[in-house]
Amino acid sequence: MKIVAVFINLVFFLLLAPFLEGVMRKITARVQSRQGPPLYQPYLDLLKLLRKENLVSAENWAFRLAPLLAFASMLAAVAILPLHGQENILSHEADLMTLIYLLTLSGFSVLIGALSSGNPFGSVGASREMMTIIMLEPVLAMTIILGAVRNGTMSLPGALQGVASTESFSYFLMLAVYLLALQAFVSRQPFDIPEAEVEILEGPYIEYSGPNYALFRYTLNIKRTFYAWLLAGGFLSFLRPANLFLDLLLQTALIILLFGLISVVGATHPRFRIDQAIKYYALLIVLSLLAVGLGVSGL
């Protein structure tokens, strides 16, 4: 069962992630009075990209390695997540530090790819992405660390259970901070600054095409799913039904709901400038530190 749990995790995320993008596109289209593509469109997009020729525009290994590294580390990150609140076979090797590390690694792979491409738009995108990572990773880390502090354990199932302990004030503060940061975590408007199509033409991904780009797209989709899952499987895990199947169903429903919210917010905001976003992120960091402080002092 402990081995199967890993596979269930992987299959859950791999299958769900493109569908959620479809949901997002459909809802965005609805807000914009459009028909929108069918829900399964992202799967077709990915398949089409994967079948295309891999154009490598920079002659260095970092450029080729970056998408693989990004995808692999993201897969590893979702593989070690506890399923149904239980630890799996990897849980002994991986604690919450590993999770944070893997997520950061995935983000940095995008940076490496962008910088090694030598494209000026890529460099601008990379510098924006870098600022975003520096400002946002602490918020994520604080969220999980708060759980670890509460439960006094570094293991993932324990820490995530700690995240969901609703009896304290810090839980609600952290939940608010997380919800405020969610739009930035999933890099949708107003926080899709590193990609900003009209300014820097998808920034970090500008030189990527075909399967390499498909991997980046897939990584981004799984990343978005993960951040939504953290709310469903972390903050709201006290709702968890006893049956594993029902649990997955509930999580899916919650995640879809969240994506609906993300799409609506995304469709009703213009993009911020990076300097405006940084101020917002800074506020989030301060609030999340405050939440951890409260958590440490038992509130």
Binding site: V31, S33, Q35, T268
Partner: protein, 181 residues
């Protein structure tokens, strides 16, 4: 305030509903009076060349191939669908159709040719003289990109006033080498 604005924005979308059409799957007919592809009625055409003389895009070509037969050729690949030909036709032989899906790989699909049998003048025996430079001949010699609708390609020719040594200069002109860094 912020939330109220967002709700107002969402309300607009809610009220208007989905407005995009499933276009290629569902046809969208053009309204009455639409200027689509011009269609020649060969029974009405008298071969006066009014359309050919006034076509701003010069897409209509007229030529007598023998004493009795006059050819009208319309190549829509450059047509701007202004409808000037239909306006000016004295016999109302041209109607602007409502067909607008004209993209094709095959040029004859959008080309119209009419063979007109002309009467000969009882007095002089001919109606139209090919040798004399008249405005119809000019249509052939002047023009735009592919000047000759007859051969359907660019004919690189120059107006009479252009001095030949200037053209020579363009041929032998030494191009600047790549710019130094």
């Amino acid at each position: 305030m912020w939330l109220w604005n967002k709700i107002k924005q969402l309300a607009i979308s809610w009220k208007s509903g989905v407005v995009t059409l499933r276009y290629p799957f569902e046809p969208r007919p053009a309204p009455a009076g639409f200027r689509g592809q011009p269609i020649w009625d060969h029974t009405k055409c008298i071969g006066c060349a009014g359309c050919a003389n006034h076509c701003p895009a010069r897409t209509i070509f007229l030529r007598d191939i023998c004493q009795e037969i006059r050819i009208l050729l319309y190549d829509s690949s450059r047509c701007t669908y202004c409808g000037r030909c239909a306006d000016l036709c004295p016999e109302k032989a041209i109607t602007m159709g409502d067909h607008y899906e004209l993209a094709t790989e095959n040029r004859p699909d959008i080309t119209q040719t009419i063979e007109l049998f002309m009467m000969t003048c009882q007095r002089c025996g001919r109606c139209y003289d090919l040798e004399i430079k008249n405005s119809l001949d000019k249509l052939h010699t002047l023009g735009y990109r592919y000047d000759s609708l007859e051969v359907g390609k660019v004919s690189r020719q120059n107006t009479a006033e252009f001095s030949p040594d200037l053209l020579e200069k363009t041929k032998t002109y030494e191009r600047p080498k790549q710019l130094e860094k």
